[in-house]
Symmetry: C2
Subunit: 694 residues, 2 copies
Amino acid sequence: MRKAGGDEGGGGSSKTAEQPEAKTPAGAALSKLSDTTIGPDWTKVSCPCCVSERVEPLVLVKLGEKVRPETKRWLIRVIGAPQKDGGAALLAHPGEEATGDIMVLSAPRCTLLKATEELGLCKTYRNGEMEAFSYNDRDNFKDSDNMEVFLTLAERQYIVKYELDGLRAQRDLRIPGLSDALQHRDNIWRKLGSAGVIVDTLPLHNPNQLKDLSEAWYAGNQLAQPLDSVNGYFGSSVAFYFSFLDFYTWSLLPPAILGLTITYFSGEVQKEMEESLSGSSATNDDESGPAVSGHMIQAVFSMLWSTVVMELWKRRSSSLSYRWGTMNLAERFAEPRPGFHGGLGVNPVTGRVEPLFPDWQRDLRIALVSIPVVGLFLGLVVLGMLCFYWGEAQVQELHRDWDSLLSQTLLYVPSVLHISYTNVLATVYRTVAKSLTEYENHREESAFENHLTAKVLVFTFFNYFAVLFHIAFFKQDVPLLRKRLASLLIITQLVNQVTEVVIPFLVDRFISAPHRTESEDDPQEDKFRNQSTLPTFPGLFAEYIELLVQFGYLSLFSCVFPLTAVLLLINNLTEIRTDAYKICKLFRKPFSPPAANMRVWQIAFEVLSFVSVVSNCWLLLLSPWLQKLFQEGGLSSTNVLLLAVLVEHVLILVKVVLAVLIPDEPDWVRKKREHIEFTSMQALREQKLHCEGS
Amino acid sequence: MRKAGGDEGGGGSSKTAEQPEAKTPAGAALSKLSDTTIGPDWTKVSCPCCVSERVEPLVLVKLGEKVRPETKRWLIRVIGAPQKDGGAALLAHPGEEATGDIMVLSAPRCTLLKATEELGLCKTYRNGEMEAFSYNDRDNFKDSDNMEVFLTLAERQYIVKYELDGLRAQRDLRIPGLSDALQHRDNIWRKLGSAGVIVDTLPLHNPNQLKDLSEAWYAGNQLAQPLDSVNGYFGSSVAFYFSFLDFYTWSLLPPAILGLTITYFSGEVQKEMEESLSGSSATNDDESGPAVSGHMIQAVFSMLWSTVVMELWKRRSSSLSYRWGTMNLAERFAEPRPGFHGGLGVNPVTGRVEPLFPDWQRDLRIALVSIPVVGLFLGLVVLGMLCFYWGEAQVQELHRDWDSLLSQTLLYVPSVLHISYTNVLATVYRTVAKSLTEYENHREESAFENHLTAKVLVFTFFNYFAVLFHIAFFKQDVPLLRKRLASLLIITQLVNQVTEVVIPFLVDRFISAPHRTESEDDPQEDKFRNQSTLPTFPGLFAEYIELLVQFGYLSLFSCVFPLTAVLLLINNLTEIRTDAYKICKLFRKPFSPPAANMRVWQIAFEVLSFVSVVSNCWLLLLSPWLQKLFQEGGLSSTNVLLLAVLVEHVLILVKVVLAVLIPDEPDWVRKKREHIEFTSMQALREQKLHCEGS
């Protein structure tokens, strides 16, 4: 347990803490705070093995403008104090002036290594295999003396944040220069944040690495992404997104080729294009036999394709997770997340004293509060849609009666109202979802993220697809669906690219950048400060949902518009570059916790792939060609329906069988994982006596 | 690695082996081979901590009649030799005469404890929690000095078998008195079995425990089964079967009550009974409104009920597994099963040298050999059914044309032919399935069992249900289905009870028993010998399949015959007693490996529960009442079908959601399991150096 405060007078800790204060007034050179800064300005390390020539600035902390010098001194002392005295055992640099509003943090070797063990990261053992890192056995791991090779930049920065988030008051105490008091076990970093002492905590870019990365990633014409470097620089959560984007884009090739071939051979290229671009619903009655079977092939192919792709991705994902050392994360055994609260008690799993919160109470909150509220919002979406349809009908009637300029303008009113209603609802919902998830009080950060993502996901998905489903299942109007789908595909992709990249780029170039001109001679601190003027990285939610919606268009409705895959392929090839550019240049570097997979997104994609069978079978059933064909074949509509149901069940069965038969991890990863489990079991047996508690 | 043979002259091992031979001619009393036998006749233990006053006879080995004394002496030496010298480190007793055809085996404390660790059993730690047993830490486990409390009888006996199965030749050697030679790493026990030296290896009954158990189990009128004692006496695989039988029987109460209520209130009791007993298909046209909704309630209820029951059973199963210490079995880290073969190599998981067999080769064998062969047999079942229908049609036509006594007899020919065809096919298939699974070369015993069970399961299931499905889906004849179902339920249950219990009981009482009269004065050895005259326990396959078929009748077709649950409940209440009687009295005691759940049966029940939705929705759709109702309501048949499909999808969705939402293990078990995982992770970290290999 890490606890803070207290030991004002206690030996080593107070000595190290006094250091910066004593030195900075003595005129330490400002340029010292660079990549090659040596000793003096940084807090001293108590542990002899961690003393190094060179301290790497990892994280920038921005303090409030009104923070008093004694508060900052106290803070630096706490950050530098060893963990047994309740500190974070990190290195702190007070910036140019001891009283300035920034601090730069780094971490000594021992802190990094201990946190690596706590997080459950795997690292290369001396025999070349990945093994769960063990602090006691550190000398047998490769490169464990050189932190900049042993841990990636993203890991080092995440560890600093992890230590800061873990700071807890060791007893009730006052923070110098602040009126608020800390109570026993209060989370110090959260408290300082809410008291306005700490405004921002952000990881710093490493300009050289960033330059290399961007050259390998999006500057040239390379086809493959440098995923290992992305993982090293931005962390595994980000790297998993880009890996999936990559994998998914390449796996679009088969359906794209098939779609092109079918469209070409059925001689429909021009018509499809015209239709999709002009939006006019051409009559489908004259379509010929081959097209029918082509569409059916396309539909069946895309249904099976989606399962195979998701299964193969799971295999790829598990081998990436082995490669990046995140296959054995120990989050559930670590300290709870900062926002977690509950009565103090002994954790039955780890034996540590920490806040506990009964699971049934969380389940109750989810069942009685979260689910009804989410349901209410989904109801509001449907209500909005109904109002929109009603409004549109009213307005059109009005327009037919009056036919004036005013009434023509009125025609747009329902759409505008509906769009703004949807947007307001989405914003409100996002806040509500966050508080709901906070209220559910999850112990682990990942559980929190998963529940929040799931909530927003359901809503966003509903929001995007409600209209399409309405057209497909209630209006049963295939041409309208096709028109809508084509326009959605083209328009939303254009809009997305513009809002996501072009606007931030323009803002950055012409509004922010002039205030941020950099030159070689600038003091290092100003360069750091510049980074904090960039907007915060909005997270990967929007990126993932974009992919999911794409995947939805493709798998749910592909049989009505076979060129979907082609359009998506083109979009994604640019998307990779723009996303890479965005995260490198337009935003602050994000903290990224180690991740073993795409978490809840994986499930979302898989669920969609099963829903797609139902939707495709239904759409095929609706298709006028097929109905005509069956009528000619002398089948009654009941029999056609029965046939469709049969086909649907068979396809679902095939998908389930495929999903079960394709192992979720490649054989070699399974063996490595089992080896890690075996080693851990062996270790338990070798132990003479159990470690009671920890 | 255990290896055998060799060290003829090596110190302690040869001394212990010489012992029995030296003593028995000197006239050791025959009665010494009793429960309280003291020292002399047993082989000596080399380990001082294992010397005990009392040796418990655990396993009887029956040798071939022509086995020469030197072979038996060699065998006893190998069994008694320590594991490092390639022996089994067990205790052996040569029986009355050194040259006789039986041996009695037991196991000393150290061997038992080491095997407990190897098997990955959990035992009570001194703090009262279950922990994975560790030999080094043995003194901290409760009762680890008293093997008869620490391990159950079933576990002790299984460990003896486990050690015997693990005997492997340490180098090429000749067995004295046999012409065959053993090659390096040959499995000794298998070799001796195929050479006719060893005829039988069977665990011995403990008469006192058996008496207590049978009194608590089936002799009285008690409602609850003594499951812990069953686990102790017969092992966890058997105990899991009886626990499931118990759980399933009680969970039949709700559908039985509902079925009775509905049948009673719709005033159909008499009719249903008459129909089911006389087999006459009453006209259903006059049935009234309430009955319709009653059947629908019954169907929907039973569809959801099956999921809830299976989920709750999983929870119960995991808490039983914790209670019985089998939650952390380490089979995949242990030695491969005796029949496993492959090139020698280093196992990448455990680092031990052992036979390896690539997974892809096994997958290939499954895909290219097993699946086609199984498919062929399923095809033969269908072919048989088609021939039967064709034959029946032919014969009936013939009968209509001729109408003589001969033609009336001919009417039965197709049925008789079909039944004998089915039986022959089933017997052949069972042999084929066994060789196929042997050919697939599974490494673990449980994998072998699972694959074998799955194969036989699919076939048996097909065999049982093909006709019913044919009636339901192709003939679409609900009254016939009802008739068939009722007769199947009643007849097969009667037949089963008779063949399973009454016949073995009669055979035992009137044919075998006269040759096996026991009296108190008999020498102990004859009592042991008597046990080997009982027939071998046929395993739980037939019992499980009976339950599965029941469950199938209930969940797949319950809506056509609402009294199914009532009949099953009555059957199962007697089934519990008869099964218990059977395993206690009519068969040899079986060896039972520790098991953590019902394995493949769990999956079979769950799959059935999903198939039931499809089948029930279809049957409801077929029901004449419903069709009439809809016609009156003015719905077209297409719309009715659409509605049914919608209902089906919603029900499947609800079942999936239920299955996901109900956790598979109770919270307290999850916490204990995570605690065990955490301890194991901690242990790994505490270790200074990794254990390379084992």
